[in-house]
Amino acid sequence: MSNVATNSVNVLGPTGSEKFMRRIMPLIALAVVLAVIPVFGPSRTVYSLLNAMGVNIVFAMSYNMLLGRAGLLSFGHAVYFGLGGYAAVHAMGAIEAASYGDGGFWASYPVFFLPVVGFAGGALAGAVIGWPSCRRAGTPFAMISLGVAELIAAAGFMFGSIFGGEEGVSGDRMNGPELFGLSLGPIEEVYWFIAFWTFIGVLGTYAFTRTPLGKMSEATRDNPERVEFVGYDPQKVRYLVFIFSGGFAGLAGGMAAVNYEIFTPEALSLAPSGMVLLMAYIGGIRYFAGPILGAILLTYMQSMMSDYSEAWLLYLGLLFIVIVMFAPGGLAGIFVGLFSGLRGEDAGENFRRWAVQVAGIVLMMIGIITLVEVSVHWSNNYGEVFHPFGVQLPHDGVLTWAVIFIPFVAGVGILRMAHKNKEGQA
């Protein structure tokens, strides 16, 4: 019996090479990408964007430990990001004071490792707030997180000695012992710091999914009742996951503290909490890499799209609603679907169908974007006119409304047809 069982262990689970391809390769790929980026000599803008993305990636990953992996919808995750960040920024101050003062522990603490302080801060906050919050999942959890976030955000503005009032607490990252020859002054050096911790953050959140606790968190998400009957307390599972999630959010906060050298009470408020929810969900909460995609896309949109259109928030809202309604798997889900569709037997058929769908979507988007842009330009009342590619589209022009309606109707029609065809085949 035991002999059989020992043999069958090998049959079970993925083989060594499968494991390597599925688990180790993506991490190596991530490391390579992170390491190769500077070769292209990015500008300061690109660097600062990359750094912001790194912070948001870790933040979104920590959020997905809750939403994706444990099924806990939080509206106040920025609390842990912010508290971790504040811990790190205060530690940065301590390093500065200690290195100009009488030394001590902080004098020998490298700024490079401040995210560890952030992790501790976030985890501690999670440990304190988590216990009452994690009693149940679902709506009560979401509501408690909302209430707690409101309270903490208000406290952020009230307690100036901790949160620095409106202008926040700032520090200088160029103090204390240097590590890896990085002074962390120029933004290129900060990039290495961010890249390192982004990798650690991704690795850490991934490793967590492989632990007994990580596995049980997924089990608790799917079936909390059953979990109780295999010896686990779902409340405790949630609580522990919550602490870790707070810790990784704090890690991201620590990264932000070094990157921006300042933390302000807004960091605790509902707005960044909403943003991280959007990142994770748009990226795809059921896929490990989903939040990474979401964080990259939304960071880019936030910092760059406002240059193109002041209605970027509207587009963001639309994107989110479309994802919720039609692609609950998020961007990652769409990619996975495309990829597996192209490898299947009827790849050609799939390809044709997608081409039609993409055409429909693009047409619809042309209509919607034109409508939004024309309205925005008109509603500003500065007499500005939307003029893409040199074409003037005033709000009262016939051409404008043609550009809005014809593609939109055509797009809707194509999508409907594609949908019907698919159903007809099925």
Binding site: L12, P212, K215, A219, V230, Y232, F244
Partner: protein
Amino acid sequence: MSIPALSINDLHKSFGPAHIIRGVTLDIEPGERHAIIGPNGAGKSTLFNLISGGYHPSKGSIKLRGEEIGGMKPFKINRKGLSRSFQVSNIFSNMTVRENVRCGVLYSMGYGYGFLRNVGNLHDVQRKTAEILESVDLLDKANLPAALLPYADQRTLEIAITIAGGADVIMLDEPTAGMSHSETERAVALIKQATEGKTLLIVEHDMGVVFNLADRISVLVYGEIIATGKPTEIRGNEKVREAYLGDEADAIEGDAA
């Protein structure tokens, strides 16, 4: 006399004005296979939930090997070595079969809420999981998502999760409900083999299964046990016949024949 594996004494449960369990007293010896039968609405599921920690008793005591467990949280009871299955398949449908069983194994092997070990490297857990899968004949389906299993296999998986933790008191809630005749036969064989040497408490509608499996049978009617005894004693019991009217009474007799 040894301490009973499970000892229930004057157990009551009310939901508001509805008095569902009205003074159940029952002792189950270690190693005994005990079946609870009774018409629909007799309170069998409620009794199961009371024992396994799903409900809080209104009155009375439940002792597991002499230790009071009435009103304890389910996970605490489970850790003391009492495990149950569900009438409706209650599995982790987003996971593979192997992962399902592993969820049942982890706590009992001492890994608890651990977050420093990779589950892939826990060879004892792997081995135990494989053993369980082997014993319920699901090894070849180990890497299938549980949601994609055929119904009978899902029921089997339900049992596999229940026994995975190595509990020595096993409670099965209608394990063969909805199965075909041949599937039922296989399930009974499997239950017999998997609960070898353990205490088994089973609720079942299929009288064939009951009389085949059980050492003793209790009949629960309107929240009260009206008879307890060996299968032969139950068959001959007048009160049981009265409680079971029509077809079901025939079923008892038919099996008796």
